[in-house]
Symmetry: C4
Subunit: 367 residues, 4 copies
């Protein structure tokens, strides 16, 4: 029941040493059910752990005498939008699990930082309340498609009306992953999901929420969404060369490499390892957004050097939200930017284009 769920309502400056600390601290202010839902992954947690460890499958080498005055230029431009850095906000369901202020505070912090905010279909706040915090920054809409095309059209209408600049079709969650923390906690959503007309969310398990959305997604859905919305479409959840081709052939304007934060298929490849495969298959035809496992500025660096154009973060932002509201959100982005700047300076990278051109050192099968 919503009334029994007492989570944080923090709004304060947040001092961040690293985002791992935030994960531990957030466990003290988010109720166990919500925290389990946010933090955990599928089954044996192999893939969720590999998501982070895999960043050391590629190593960087420091470079010297590269004539860089600190700080290098971390800004980037994407589809005409100037961003503070290539670090953007991933779609995450139900921010009110972490902070009573919900997505409005997250959107505000993200805008203040100056990057893209992705609105989740399963947000616990209305679309309008999130859009109201855009403050000139771009917002994208992550779509869980309805079984009923007319309902999907309604959702796209709302997004367009509120200024969404792209649609992100989540294609890797046509059934819920086997998330044992939720089963042990008997977790159901204590908050509503006002954006999706087909599901109110309250007292529902994540499995039921997923089941109420369209499951049998196909290339036709990409074309349908693109045609109806007139917006560029990302296919999110791509991890293979085959699906890269499939998505591009279906008209996708971008590929979003993700394994849903290790929440869906356990025993699957780490997202960073999949990025290498997808980037090679893509041959720079469309932009790539990368997520899953990003906890360090160095992770952002390595993803950019492996073919990503933008790098999305999710859980760390939600922990920042829990601990500091919109200010906590902004602090998380600033922390990762700060770490990225140091990595850029010490690798002799004057700007993001040089980061993307960096050769990493293969360390795949090392101890």
């Amino acid at each position: 029941m919503a009334e029994e769920y007492k989570t944080s309502s923090a709004e304060n400056p947040l001092n961040v040493i690293n985002v791992y600390d935030l994960e531990k601290e957030a466990a003290n202010v988010i109720p166990a059910g919500g925290y389990g839902y946010i933090s955990s992954g599928a089954a044996d947690l192999y893939t969720i752990q590999e998501n982070i460890k895999a960043f050391n499958h590629k190593l960087v080498a420091p470079r010297v005498l590269q004539d860089i005055a600190f700080p290098p230029d971390v800004s980037t431009t994407f589809w005409g939008d100037k961003l503070t850095s290539p670090i953007i906000m991933a779609p995450v369901a139900a921010h009110k699990l972490a902070n009573t202020q919900g997505e409005a505070a997250t959107a505000k912090g993200v805008s203040r930082y100056g990057t893209i905010f992705t609105i989740s279909s399963f947000a616990s706040e209305t679309y309008e309340a999130q859009a109201a915090q855009a403050n000139g920054q771009p917002q994208w809409f992550q779509l869980y498609q309805s079984k009923d095309d007319n309902v999907t059209r309604q959702m796209l209408d709302v997004a367009k009306k509120n200024g969404a600049k792209a649609i992100v079709l989540t294609a890797d969650a046509t059934v819920g992953g086997y998330r044992e923390a939720d089963k042990r906690n008997g977790f159901t959503f204590p908050v509503g999901l006002p954006i999706v007309p087909y599901q109110d969310g309250v007292d529902q398990t994540m499995d039921n929420v997923y089941k109420s959305a369209k499951q049998a997604l196909s290339p036709r859905d990409v074309a349908f969404i693109k045609d109806y919305s007139g917006l560029p479409v990302f296919v999110k959840g791509v991890q293979t060369a085959e699906d890269t081709e499939l998505a591009i052939a279906a008209g996708a304007d971008g590929i979003w490499v993700s394994n849903h934060g290790g929440r869906q298929l356990d025993g699957g490849v780490a997202s960073f390892d999949a990025l290498q495969v997808v980037a090679k298959a893509n041959r720079k035809r469309v932009p790539i957004v990368f997520d899953s496992g990003v906890r360090r500025g160095m992770h952002v660096f390595k993803a950019l050097a492996s073919g990503a154009d933008l790098v999305a973060i999710g859980r760390p932002v939600i922990y920042g939200l829990a601990l500091g509201g919109s200010q906590g959100v902004e602090a998380v982005f600033k922390e990762l930017e700060n770490e990225l700047l140091i990595a850029m300076q010490l690798t002799g990278s004057h700007n993001i284009e040089e980061v993307k051109a960096t050769n990493l050192i293969d360390n795949r099968f090392a101890d």
Copy 2:
């Protein structure tokens, strides 16, 4: 002594989060000697542990836009028998160690689930009592051959009379593995083994039980069993290309890849790694059953994608039997099926044939 051995007699619904939990919980209801016998492996436990870890020597990649309505079709057909799924029951000795209801309850749960039950020569229940629970589902008979061919003929007669559809010749246990838990516990069977005329089992060590069966097995035995029974014969315990050829040349109708659950030869290859070798050598000439280390629906998936036609489980079912009787048995099968269904959906596999055609990602020498 049988009268001192107080094990579970549970018969109740069983809620399963994962089968690892059951292993821990079963330790509370099965006496230490019986539990040690069931759960442990040979010597340093290297191979028993590798059996599970080895499933991550191959990784899966999620697939998207594959147009699958959940659930995909998990059913399969084997030699004309329609099965709920390719998950079948492996032969396991002396189920009464885990539950006073013994093999009758296991057979009942397996039939209710709708798959193959393999009756062990070293069952603690009569053949007839197990066959009585078949309920239209296929049953196979796992043979520990007698030193005396006439006794072997008697055993095959019983199996045929009671409807066995195949004989599974256990060829990897011509001596007991070096199982230290049994030595530390001073374990002897507290229950009788009514199927084998050459051994009553009571107060015997496993070593003695094995020694009373035929040790010097050869290809001639495969031919002998096949000729006399008129039934298809599996050779169980094959782990090499050489033995694949040997078994097929001897007339085997199927190969059963197994390292006896890591109970026999420590320092040997993981069963899942051996499956890759056997499947390649087999070149689809005969069907392959796989066991040893299966604890997840994803393990079933990976075995099927590596050449197995059926995947047998043993210990998890015995823990389910200890904790819930026939209902516990059924719950274990349903749990693994549920996990397998999620894996199928998220890898875009509409049915078991598509699972078997999946290309896995080599991760053999990774961290």
Copy 3:
């Protein structure tokens, strides 16, 4: 504040079993802030840990019947200076954090041992007081260049006047690494840095100290320093083939392979792994000094066999200083020499040239 910082003032003989012990014991005599500064590394500590583990990426094989009377000859000659062994003192900032006697005691211990002492720009003692302890042994000067060329000239004048035989340009610290221990401790220097005219150091963070030095270093700086000083110049912090070429092309007389003890770029290669790359690129054109991670005589051996001409140690010496003053410093060098002698004897190496000619066994991707 300097007056609140109570560190060791030990001056006594030191019995060393191994230098790992010293690291633990030093934690008891150095205040937490200073100890954190000295001992810790960047971010997740991946690279600092790999620095040590990486020595087992190459293994040695014992050799027999090589006709060596113990001890073999561990001495070496570098640019005309006869050294007790190829083990030299790396530049380390602010020795007074560890012992009130500071760099004067370190320099004294190093001279008594009979090897090269490298004076740090960020020493907590005057140049003159360190030079006064040279006692006929060579001293080098590690330069953190000033943003103002005239100030750099002043510093080089002091070094020349006091007999420096080489300049070591630190090129890998144009911004401070992300050192979390310092952030958690709120560490600022409690002692002054009298050598650098552009920064007094007191109550400054390491970040601020680094920022006050020149950040945008380029090949022109190598040429400038070499021309003005007339001394041979090392470029310190080289880890790649590209930078090896760059440094040599800029006129460097030697390459100093280092990742700054894992204090700068986390997620980067281990220094010993980088040494393999640099040595190959160098093709013996210029001498190589190696540091980062050296804790054993065997590490010295492996570095020499991988292309290093000299091997520098830092932290272990500072722990020796904390625990025994100049005598502790000398004891650390003697301990590593002793371990090196055993390694030489058991690998059949009569002298340092034979150590350098040793073929190591690749173990890069082993467990």
Copy 4:
């Protein structure tokens, strides 16, 4: 002092589950100094640990239908001597550290088992007392050569007179390894070393004992020993192809692959890995004895399958001696034989020649 050293004087039957257990139990009956000397290894203990782990760098595969009646034939013949099994006794210094009965009890247990006993130069018992226990079984003499050839001749005279059938020249201990346990314990020998005329041993460190023997060994020494003694000579401590050639060229009749139980050179290759290299270089020209790290019958199996003709064990026997005297010694050999028999049966090996012809599965760079 000898009078203060109170060790075990056990003489009783010993039940062995595995020899790792004995190592733990022996720590309770052997004084700390002696136990440290016996059990520990060099420096970081990397190589001593790798010695055991390395056996899983090669895996075995079970074989089926090989027509073997248990038990297979574990006996072997070496240079005309019929042995119960290829497991022999390695030279170990000062058995009286473990049991007041010393080498006499060990020799008795080894003879009763029926295999080769190697008498150490640094035995704590007279040569004659050990020879008296031979009981028809072969004995070999491990030589630490004297700096004085006449003294070496005296030692060889004693060995010949007492029936030694081979001389084992220890070539890998021309200086003591860096054994920290001994340094921490301040260990000196509490017992005398009556065989070596150049060193009485009492109150000496191992370093001093080694130093009193000849250090500058060369191929000439092999020829000298062989010529003078007229006995076949093993060179012990060979780990490389180069030294295999060197030893054979010098006239060695056998190669003894060993890294001295990980006591000498840390950071060196595991002995089992070196065996692969030596066996390849040897091309079956001379017999190979293998030691270092053998704790399981499976280890014996893998060593034989990798080119060894005999496999020597040391520490486990000394623990057996401490816990059960001569009966404990015999029990250790029987335990390893028992484990070896199971491995032979389950891999389809009828005899030792078939074990030696087994193809192992490369697992060098696995997790």
